[in-house]
């Protein structure tokens, strides 16, 4: 029971991070029908940017109040990662819109390689560790085989994710930008006939996806205390799996998929074998694609109209 509770906490926090990344995949797919393979690396880049801000604040500027440092680092990372993703879309994807279907996909793979190599060269190939800023944790149960704990980082991850998703959901459902986004998703040409600047809306979609990924990157850095140039691939691909599992194009699906993948991965490690946890996660991708191609909350391909 204690083990179960502990793994539940770990799974949910990991799942929250996957969910935040998955939204970026699903939004971009929704609006321009493209799988943005570079999104995992955008996440990795955002963690590095957060790390740089963190070092700048603590070592150069001498700020010692860690919660403030983290908030500032996350905000800085959101801003800079957004600029990066905006530029990537402008340079590597937009000119290929309307080209053959595989063109932007290939370009995205190129961007993915570019980003991880760029970070490797600029930051070096070794892990970049930081010390855990919120070392303390809350002990939930005593006795038993071991104490179930929830670190402050875990609490922060859950709270930040829920708050962010609520705000994001409101934006999509009830603001003019959200409506324009959904309009472009459903009929780009008609949206333009109604005065929606499609290019601007697509740009904003990349910016929002990057900002959410940057929050995920900052939280990841806070929780695991380490980042490496190759860390875009696995979390990125798992978040993509989450998006597919939830139903690509569906926002609630991305979050649900993220949670499920996080839980499956942690429970698999705890009860079966850590070595096979990634295989478990990716088996889900294959199984979903074969048996449930439109995902848990996605809509079936065929549609009236």
């Amino acid at each position: 029971m204690d083990l179960f509770l502990q793994e539940l906490i770990n799974g949910v926090t990991l799942g929250a991070i996957y969910g935040l990344i998955a939204i970026g995949y699903t939004m971009v797919y929704g609006i321009i029908g493209m799988v943005n393979f570079a999104h995992g690396d955008v996440f990795m880049l955002s963690a590095f940017i957060a790390l740089l801000f963190l070092l700048l604040l603590t070592q150069k500027l001498g700020v010692t109040f860690m919660p403030l440092v983290f908030v500032l680092a996350a905000l800085g990372s959101m801003l800079m990662t957004s600029v990066w993703n905006w530029a990537i879309e402008r340079i590597a994807y937009r000119p290929l819109r309307g080209s053959f279907r595989l063109a932007p996909l290939i370009s995205a793979i190129g961007m993915s390689i570019f980003l991880s190599n760029f970070v490797q060269v600029a930051q070096g190939p070794r892990n970049k560790p930081i010390s855990n800023p919120f070392g303390r944790s809350i002990t939930l149960t005593h006795g038993g085989q071991f104490n179930v704990t929830m670190s402050y980082s875990d609490v922060i991850i859950v709270v930040v994710t829920i708050a962010l998703l609520a705000g994001f959901w409101f934006m999509v459902r009830h603001t003019s930008l959200g409506r324009s986004q959904r309009a472009c998703e459903q009929d780009m040409k008609m949206a333009a006939l109604l005065g929606v600047d499609v290019n601007r809306t697509v740009s904003l979609t990349f910016i929002i996806g990057a900002a959410l990924a940057a929050v995920a990157g900052s939280l990841y850095l806070m929780k695991y205390g380490v980042i490496n140039f190759a860390d875009g691939f696995l979390p990125g691909t798992k978040a993509f799996t989450a998006a597919v599992l939830g139903g690509i194009g569906s926002l609630p699906g991305a979050v649900l998929g993220g949670l499920l993948i996080g839980l499956i991965e942690t429970f698999w490690s705890a009860y079966f074998s850590t070595d096979y946890k990634d295989i478990a996660a990716f088996s889900i991708l294959a199984i979903t694609l074969v048996f449930l191609p439109s995902g848990l909350l996605g809509r079936p391909e065929v549609e009236k109209v």
């Binding site: 409506r179 959904r182 309009a183 459903q186 008609m190 005065g195 499609v198």
Partner: protein, 246 residues
């Protein structure tokens, strides 16, 4: 042969427009004008290029030659959304309702064009014109019937209070009675609010009766033009577009 567009200056003036799909030419040099406050109709057989002209005015597809002047301004090279923001609204071929948005949200999309300037008032107005839409306000656009979608497409177009309203086959798929009702709505908007209308129609009889002037398009070219009455009286028009005799 052609009748000069009144004394009023043209709100929309199309000169020598050529549009291609790839290498295939769809419009072979079209001239057409619509004066402020007029109802102008464009009729022609399937595949003549009517919808292509409607979309070319919005720059999608873009004309390869010729000029489109709106309100004295050359809009031939403007982006589609910029053209829309000049006060031109279209209910396009195929209606293009946003299928996963509610009726209400579809109307909001129309109103966003003029920043919701008179939203509640305009909403009331379209609900009065099409009470059916009010009943279905929360229903998803994709689940409406064809006729209801047609009403929604027209309602969405007038939510922005356009200066020029373009309708591509608004009576398509509608029961004759509803089609008449739509024509009444168009006439009303024109008479009461001075709305300028460019109307593409299969129902040539209804359209020519409604319109001040009309154009006949054949194979990407305008072959005849004149007042609605004149065109109705022409034997070629009667033979080609009015058989069945309504």
């Amino acid at each position: 042969m052609s009748v000069e567009a009144n004394a009023k200056p043209a709100l929309l003036e199309i000169k020598g427009i050529k549009t291609y799909y790839g290498n295939i030419i769809a419009l072979k040099g079209v001239d057409l004008s619509v004066a402020e406050g007029e109802i102008v109709t464009l009729i022609g057989a399937n595949g003549a290029g009517k919808s292509t002209l409607m979309m070319t005015i919005f720059g999608s597809p873009r004309a390869r030659e010729g000029q489109i002047i709106y309100n004295g301004r050359n809009i031939t090279k403007l982006a589609t959304h910029e053209i829309a923001r000049l006060g031109i609204a279209q209910s396009p071929e195929g209606r293009r309702i946003f299928p996963r948005m509610s009726v209400y949200e579809n109307l909001q999309m129309g109103a966003s064009l003029n920043n919701f300037a008179h939203f509640t008032e305009d909403l009331e107005r379209v609900y009065t014109l099409f009470p059916r839409l009010k009943d279905r306000a929360t229903q998803r656009g994709g689940t409406l019937s064809g006729g209801e979608q047609q009403m929604l497409a027209i309602a969405r177009a007038i939510m922005s209070r356009p200066r020029l309203l373009m309708l591509d086959e608004p009576s398509l798929g509608l029961a004759p009675l509803i089609a008449l009702q739509i024509f009444d709505v168009i006439r009303d908007l024109n008479k009461r609010e001075g709305l300028t209308v460019l109307l593409v129609e299969q129902n040539a009889f209804g359209a020519l009766k409604l319109a001040d002037r009309g154009y006949v398009m054949v194979n990407g070219l305008i072959t005849m033009s004149g007042t609605g009455k004149e065109l109705l009286a022409r034997p070629e028009v009667q033979a080609a577009y009015l058989e069945g005799g309504h």
